[in-house]
Amino acid sequence: MHISTDPWVWIGVFLTLCMFSFLYRENGFYRFGEHLFVGVSNGFGVSFMYNNVIKPNLIDPASESFRLAFTGEFSWNLFNPMEDVNFIVIIFGMIGCLYFARFIPKISWMVRIPIGIFMGYYTGLSVPAYFQGTVLRQVGATIVNPAKMSSFGEGLIAILVLIGVICTIIYFFFSKEHKGVLKGASWVGIVFIMVGFGASFGFTVMARMSLAIGRFTFLLRDWLGLVQ
């Protein structure tokens, strides 16, 4: 046993035990750790965002543009958005600032402008990518073809996947009452869904245990030195 003398390890241990104390019951130590985490996360995010996004992409190019313009080095390139140093970033910065318009009731409607631009851009970008990368390829992967029948095992799995996909879709098909063939197929769909839930639960247990193992390894190895 070799207890750590590193103060950062002790801080980590204290906060870990604060969090674990919730397993006994809600208490002040847990709430202290929780609030500290929220505060530190936000502080880290804001400072990182300022130094890595706002400063290099808005403040530096804009201030350099003003410097050049007022020291006799003005050129029309300062209005070219493709240049590293340009005035145009100020327009984008102002559009971004409209997010704060919601705090002023008279002009709160202006918040829709940056939201609209953002949503339009991402929707246009994501919809084709989602169809190409997920929907079409996944539908294609369910089609049973001779290449998938190279062995008995692979062929069986390909057929199971096909049956599972069709029956699960039938289970979620609500435009016709589930009677006769539809009833049987939707029942098979439920079986596949339950197997899926079971697999997800098993993986969830594994994931949660991994996190606990990570913390226990920290306590037993890094703090107490019980493990080499």
Partner: protein, 286 residues
């Protein structure tokens, strides 16, 4: 047996039992063998087949809470690449991951440099590896790297010019990347499939948390992923491969936790079985 009393057991007793089940195997591991699955082997083989004029792109997109599962994967793949003299480009799409990447990279570099006897054996920042840092929003860097990586990431995480770095010579965009491996506690492997693979044809591998691995299996089956590491088990498999096939020794974080993982799973199964027996036994009485 008094099932009513058992079913009314204070949940804190179960927490205490689980703590013991997890802690004791960490102190006294029983060392179960690690079986390497096909999906891990496929990822290893794809990285291993990287040509001299190519690089591997690692996108490390996880937060501290998933570190026990994903950090060992990242460390193992770094060891694999450095041992095979494969160029490594690193980015992160999550703001919280940047610090973790820096710590992990320096740890593996120190491991290799402590053993190095010549300049060629050493791992040097800018020559063998570059950490390009973080730029938001996530989709933009993924698309931009299809055109010009050094043009988009003009400076690395440490504010050094990337275009002149030896590691970037001959590496322009995804055409020069053998595989993108995304370690993620979210959806970043899918973003690479949807925006990088469909447009630029780059291979994608994934290292994901166990809780999300079931969502990613279809992409492995469809051939969109060239390999998949799932949770701590996947990381332990890759550690096994790197030690066995590449001969790199080092701390095996995921393997250390596998004894506890196995013991915890057995305990959970026992609890589920006892709970079910108790439920049916008491239901009959009611």
């Amino acid at each position: 047996m008094n099932w009513e009393r058992l079913l009314m057991l204070d949940r804190r007793v179960i927490f205490l039992i689980m703590a013991l089940v997890i802690a004791l195997p960490i102190i006294f591991p029983f060392g179960l063998p690690t079986q390497v699955t096909d999906r891990t082997q496929r990822l290893f083989d794809t990285i291993d087949a990287t040509r001299e004029d190519q690089a591997v792109l690692l996108s490390t997109d996880y937060t501290p809470q998933t570190e026990p599962e994903l950090h060992p994967m990242y460390i193992s793949i770094l060891r694999h690449c450095f041992a095979r003299n494969i160029k490594v480009l690193m980015v992160t799409l999550y703001i919280e991951a940047a610090g973790l990447m820096d710590v992990g990279l320096r740890e593996v570099m120190d491991e290799f440099n402590a053993r190095a006897t010549t300049h060629e054996d050493s791992i040097i920042m800018g020559e063998d590896v570059v950490f390009l840092g973080w730029k938001p929003p996530p989709i933009i860097p993924i698309l931009a790297m299809g055109q010009d990586i050094a043009g988009f990431y003009k400076q690395d995480f440490y504010n050094q010019e990337t275009a002149t770095m030896p590691v970037m010579q001959g590496i322009k965009n995804y055409r020069d990347i053998s595989i993108v491996v995304a370690f993620s506690s979210g959806s970043s492997p899918l973003w690479f499939v949807q925006f990088a693979q469909t447009r630029f044809g780059v291979k994608v591998g994934a290292g994901v948390t166990a809780v999300s691995v079931a969502d990613f299996y279809p992409y492995l089956e469809s051939g969109q992923f060239s390999g998949l590491l799932g949770g701590m088990k996947g990381a332990a498999e890759y550690e096994e491969l790197v030690e066995r096939e590449v001969g790199v020794q080092g701390r095996r974080r995921a393997t250390e936790g596998m004894s506890s993982q196995s013991a915890a799973h057995i305990a959970i199964m026992v609890f589920v079985i006892i709970g079910n027996i108790g439920y049916f036994a008491t239901r009959r009485k009611r």
